[in-house]
């Protein structure tokens, strides 16, 4: 039994993104990793819109003392991991607080109202400014290029899991990630997932603010 203490109990983690970005898989992986480490995990998922470009979010409650609500109460997230920058803002608005930390991929997925020109998409520096203003600590990465080099932009989700692990906010490491990947995926996919995990971790090393 792992006895690592959590920084908060329950530790409230949100993983968010847009349908099709692999957000649900990322939250399952993180949940699975922590569950294997002996934590009690509850994951709440809003993925009804996942196939059709809607916002998708997973709430993870991580505890030593039992299961919590699959919905995090407003303003009580400890960490927001976002596969898309404007979704990080959306989550921050609802679940943020002065102590929250944020990791976000900076590649926008434009919604139909943006494509049509009805609504502007905030400039990247504006987004960075807001996230810095409304969080205790934030990391900004661009996973798309590396993920595409690895074979598919969807590896951005695994990169963010690697990034989350590297922040040291949760007791996640490469070994437990590897164990989870091996149990969920065919052997042929293991290496590329580990590469994505490492690449995400390195970005945190470089870009921590």
């Amino acid at each position: 039994m792992n006895t690592t203490a959590l920084k908060h109990d329950p530790y409230n983690l949100i993983i968010t993104g847009v349908g099709g970005q692999g957000n649900v898989l990322a939250s399952r992986m993180v949940g699975d990793m922590l569950s294997r480490l002996g934590f009690d995990i509850t994951i709440g998922e809003t993925f009804g819109a996942s196939q059709r470009g809607g916002s998708v979010m997973s709430h993870l409650r991580i505890s030593r003392q039992g299961s919590y609500s699959p919905q995090i109460p407003l303003g009580r997230a400890h960490m927001i991991v976002s596969l898309e920058p404007s979704e990080a803002l959306r989550m921050l608005r609802a679940y943020g607080n002065p102590e929250v930390q944020v990791i976000t991929n900076m590649r926008p997925v434009r919604s139909s109202s943006v494509i049509s020109g009805e609504q502007p998409y905030p400039a990247p520096e504006t987004i960075v400014g807001w996230i810095n203003d409304f969080s205790e600590k934030a990391w900004f990465l661009d996973t798309t290029e590396t993920a595409t080099r690895l074979g598919n932009p969807i590896f951005g989700n695994v990169m963010l899991v690697g990034a989350l692990a590297r922040t040291g906010q949760l007791p996640l490491d490469r070994d437990i990630f590897e164990a989870v990947v091996r149990s969920r995926m065919p052997e042929a996919k293991v290496r590329v997932n580990l590469e994505a995990f490492d690449a995400g971790g390195e970005m945190i090393g470089e870009k921590s603010t």
Binding site: V18, G20, R28, G31, D32, S35, D40, I41, T42, I43, G44, E45, T46, F47, G48, A49, Q51, R52, G53, G54, S55, S67, Y68, S69, P70, Q71, P73, L74, G75, S86, E87, L89, R90, L92, R93, G96, N97, P98, V109, R110, S111, S112, S113, V114, I115, S116, G117, Q119, P120, Y121, P122, T126, W130, D133, F134, T144, T148, P153
Partner: protein, 650 residues
Amino acid sequence: MSIITDKTNKNQRVLMMGNEAIARGALEAGVKVVAAYPGTPSSEIPKVLGDVADEMGLYVEWSTNEKVSLEVAAAGSYAGLRALCTMKQVGVNVASDFLLHLAEYGSRAGLVLVTCEDPGSLSSTNEGDSRPYSKMMEFPLIEPGDIQEAKEMTQWAFDLSETIHNVVMLRSVTRMSHASGNVIVGDLPQTQARADFQYHGGFFDQMTGPVMTLPGTAPTQRLRQHAGLEKAIACFEKSPFNTYTGPDRSEITIITSSAATFYCREAIAILGLEERVGLLKLGTTWPLPPRLMEKYLAATDRVLIIEEGTPFLEDNLKALFVDLSETVGPTRFHGRADKTIPSVDELNPDIVMTALSTLLDLPTDDSMADYRQRISAALEGSVPDRAMTFCPGCPHRASFWLLHEALKLDNRRGFICGDIGCYTLGVADCGFRAVKTVAAMGSGVGMASGFGKLQRFGLEQPIIAVCGDSTFFHAAMPGLVNAIHNQADMIMVILDNAGTAMTGFQPHPGIPVGADGKPLPALDIPTICQAMGVRVEIVDPFQFAAARKTIGDLLDDAGGVRMLVLRQACALSPARKGKKEWTVSVDPDKCLGDACGCNRLCTRIFKCPGLIWDPEKRQTRIDEFVCVGCGVCAQVCPQNAITVEKAVKA
């Protein structure tokens, strides 16, 4: 290996989705027959059971609709096999006609009906609450309060069903079915079961007689049913799924069930009310166990009922209170009815906290007020909305483009009656708002059939009904028969995308494969419709020229029903996913942007997410990560600025 059959897991903690836990519970109970129609949030249960059908010796089917699925499951029960039937809330309405008769006769081997409901209508068009069926049709209702219970209670439901010889309804909600949590799993029994339908016994012998409800039999059969309910109450009085935590005498006792249990527990903990507020969590919600309720009602003067859906538990509690009032003393009830809890929409921990704070007059916590105010001021109007839209390369975007355009050109204010599926989004911008009615499964053609008879009262609008291939079999066929027979003047459009896309590609009778992945004969929709005597045209909505001509022709061919099958696979279907047919690009020399005069058809109207309007260059370009290469936008651009090239297949 599936998580739900992993034997190495025995007595281990496994992270499971609520629906997986329900499936595991059914397996641990030795279920043999599983029948279902897909619907969010229920679809994963039959899916994961279908995946292990061979391994576990099950019969699993995706039935044509929920009524049929319940009939199939009931047949299993009557032949001596434990049977499970799953559906979403609206499915219970479809199944309800049979359900009434089923409950009146009762069941033999354990029969469990799982309904997964969607408070807040996150992925439904309604907030249907099926719990009242349990009371209306008199069978027990149980509701798990966490993921572990989702497994345990499913397993127990089969025993309960056999104790009372009737169907048991287990109700879940999105936040239970789609939540994941740690589950300690038990044994998977290796039961051998032989099916045999006994009918030689006396007419009223439930276990060996003929299975029928007939004129005059109801009173006798209902007495039998009521005796079962008495037994259920006796079980419920001592059920471990009904638990109380809190002080011996509370200022307020919350009575709750299902996923709301999480919210109540958390609200009490955050507000630090453990010494003041009691929490009675009910796993058995109908019929209510009176002695248990008496005990906890006597220990408080105020009750707050927290439940997902309508005030069902609340009303039943109040009714029971009338009988108990002498012993439990005066009690005030709060909940949805007195608006302590909003009368509509999904619950969450914050709603419970607000309710408790109001009832107990707690000081407001404004430590976060400043942050909240600053962040809402800063972000006001700046986070772009993310309305649901058709996927890039979705056939429905092309189909609605064509239908909308044809109705506009026709210029008689024609409209489309919609139905349930991804294509319900035809009501929204992404479907050019061409769809003007949406109701139940199959209602599009039913209503179109009605509109199509109103010409004698002056109705001049052309009428089109659309429905998907799965919906066609589920509920559209009777409406279509009606329209054909009564000669309604309408066009029936089948949006055939080769699968139940919305809920994750479950096969249906038109697909040559079953729930266990084995081949089955497929029924061909155009052939069926031709046999019903109507003109049937089949076109690919990605081929604009041919489709335009056909649609125009069908609009002109007025009188009676005409059929159009718009056939193109869903962009996410195994046939298309990850395969680009075309490499698409925008020629910057040809794209005139705002100057084009087309009013930016591509990015302002057609709006495939694969197209980007570049506000600096004032031109459109393709987002190569998003575009799936269907080539449709090239046919939309009047300048031919979007060019396609046959993609080199990897």
